[in-house]
């Protein structure tokens, strides 16, 4: 074990605990337990909310998988990663004010509350709760595995003990502190992500002897690495552009992101979050993926893509600094997992238990349920992550694109199109998920249809389904 690397990581965990603990002490009695536990009492400021959005969005894939792929593919993958800058402003400009106002009018605490009120339909609510629980549960487990693998690589602990440390850390602050703890720890984690990537980028450039030098090495190894078409020339313009849907504008359909647009106190906070969110997302994505490409010139021949970042950090930095830098991917994973955990438990408690099983439950029961469900869910995820079942890995494939295809139109057109109704919403969700899964099988077997990412066609089809069914069945004008 390398204590010089571990010490900063331990310090990081302690700082996270402290933040979570402070947040749980601040619980606001006035705004009601549910509102406070799942939305932070709608009183968090622009900086915290911008960082929680960035940190929730930045996950294992932006800090380990993405840079690893950039290492293999070259600049084409950095170009692809930069499509994510659009999320920083697009989500808040589109959902933005109207969503915040309507969510308050409907007294919605979760995304499902919002959909249920807008479409006045229990079927919509149950379908969404089902999709959120199934897909995000799998996504969460996958992130959990990533976090444990990272701790395993860095510390040399066994996978199970690494997983145990990781799960306990997250569970403690999410269970006790709720959304406020998640958002505040996300802000700390986001800040660590910014600092960590900056240090590592500078270190990689120095280790490679400057950018022009690195570029020369890449050109010598394989000129394709500096083109937008990938190391083997297979990365087409159409494929890369389709990521504008998957990781760009389509992100408005992700429940864990959308719910954050409901939690603003004032429009001033939202404006600040727009600016911070855009700049920080772009900065982190550009840095991390450049590190991936540059690492190829500094240390060629890393076999497992996911380990590029830990390996290069341990290789070129003094151990204590590597510890600080590696806290960044850990922070990214934690901040994604904590939000997903809270979202899934809010769906179970608020939307399923309070909505259908026991609508008149006392405040005390709700409180106990919220803590309990969060803790139980975390424990189940831990047990699953020890030995992830095939089904889970399979479901995780749909977590991102599948949820976008399901939710993007019920959310966006629910806000802006007065003819949108529950028939459109149900049709759109079923079409989105159904065609996504079907197309996924087709694409895996035959290569990507039209050479674009799986997400695009289901998003288009679910739009058509939404419009056709809304107009065809019980067409009427909705008064906002």
């Amino acid at each position: 074990m390398n204590w010089q690397v571990i010490a900063p990581l331990v310090f990081f965990l302690v700082a996270i605990f402290a933040t979570g603990w402070i947040a749980s002490r601040q619980r606001d009695k006035s705004s009601g337990f549910l509102n406070d536990y799942f939305l932070g009492g709608r009183e968090l400021g622009g900086f915290v909310l911008a960082m929680t959005m960035v940190a929730t969005y930045g996950s294992a894939s932006s800090f380990l998988g993405g840079p690893g792929t950039a290492y293999t593919m070259g600049f084409g993958w950095v170009l692809l990663a930069m499509t994510q800058v659009v999320t920083g402003y697009f989500v808040l400009l589109i959902l933005g004010k109207k969503f915040a106002i309507l969510a308050r009018r409907y007294q919605a605490v979760t995304l499902i509350d919002f959909l249920k009120a807008r479409y006045n339909s229990p079927v919509v609510a149950i379908l969404s709760a089902f999709a959120i629980v199934i897909f995000l549960f799998s996504a969460m487990t996958a992130q959990w595995v990533g976090g444990a693998r990272l701790i395993e690589t860095v510390t040399g602990l066994s996978y199970t003990s690494a997983l145990f440390i990781f799960v306990i850390s997250v569970l403690v602050y999410v269970t006790t502190g709720g959304f406020r703890a998640v958002a505040l720890t996300d802000a700390v984690q986001g800040t660590i992500m910014v600092i960590g990537t900056t240090i590592l980028l500078i270190a990689v450039i120095i280790a490679g002897g400057g950018v022009p030098n690195i570029m020369q090495d890449l050109l010598t190894e394989n000129p394709n690495l500096v083109t937008p078409y990938g190391s083997d020339g297979n990365l087409s313009a159409a494929y890369v552009s389709s990521f504008w849907i998957l990781v760009g504008v389509g992100v408005v359909g992700l429940p864990q992101i959308a719910v954050r647009a409901m939690s603003y106190k004032t429009s001033r906070g939202m404006h600040r979050a727009l600016v911070i969110g855009t700049i920080v997302t772009g900065f982190i994505m550009l840095n991390m993926h450049l590190i991936g490409v540059f690492a190829r010139a500094v240390k060629p021949g890393i076999e497992v893509a996911d380990t590029v970042i830990p390996v290069i950090a341990l290789d070129i930095l003094p151990p204590w600094l590597a510890g600080i830098v590696l806290a960044a991917p850990l922070a990214a994973i934690m901040s994604t997992v904590d939000s997903l955990l809270l979202l899934v438990s809010s769906s179970v408690v608020k939307d399923v238990y309070l909505g259908y099983i026991q609508p008149n439950a006392s405040m005390k029961t709700v409180k106990r349920m919220s803590f309990g469900v969060t803790a139980v869910l975390g424990t189940i995820v831990f047990l699953l992550a020890v030995n992830p079942p095939e089904l889970l890995i399979f479901l995780n494939l749909f977590a991102f694109g599948g949820l976008e295809a399901a939710f993007i139109w019920p959310i966006v057109l629910g806000l802006y199109w007065k003819y949108g109704n529950k028939y459109g919403a149900i049709a759109s969700m079923v079409t989105g998920i159904g065609t996504y899964i079907a197309l996924h099988f087709y694409n895996t077997a035959n290569g990507n249809l039209l050479d674009i990412h799986t997400v695009v066609i289901p998003v288009v089809l679910s739009l058509i389904a939404y419009i056709v069914f809304s107009l065809a069945i019980k067409r009427e004008v909705y008064r906002y």
Binding site: F75, V78, L79, M82, T83, V85, V86, G88, Y89, F90, L93, I94, G96, K97, K98, A100, I101, R104, R105, G210, V211, P212, N213, I214, M215, L219, P223, N224, V226, T227, P228, Y229, A237, S241, W244, G248, V249, Y264, K265, T266, S267, R268, H271, R272, L274, V275, T278, I279, G282, L286, Y416, Y480
Partner: protein, 87 residues
């Protein structure tokens, strides 16, 4: 209609507009310059020119645009229901 929704609709359209312009810039430089043979690339600060303009300059321009838009174009509204009283 709630006057705050007029503001919200206008700002959503601005969001779509910025995203389209962003995409055109990103795509134009990446594949406009990047499709030349590698030998013809120029390098700016060590980066291939297509990447420098598309990803780096593009990101900086978008950031400036967003700062400008939030400062001068977006309007403050109340999210509370009593904000409705003056409609």
């Amino acid at each position: 209609m709630d006057p705050r929704f007029k503001i919200a609709h206008r700002e959503a359209k601005i969001g779509v507009g910025i995203a389209i312009a962003h995409f055109l810039w990103w795509f134009g430089f990446a594949y406009g310059l990047g499709s030349r043979p590698v030998e013809q690339y120029r390098y700016i600060w060590g980066f291939p020119d297509w990447f420098f303009y598309s990803a780096i300059v593009g990101f900086i321009l978008i950031s400036i645009t967003i700062v400008f838009v939030t400062k001068f174009v977006l309007k403050e509204v109340s999210f509370e229901e009593d904000g409705e009283a003056d409609r």
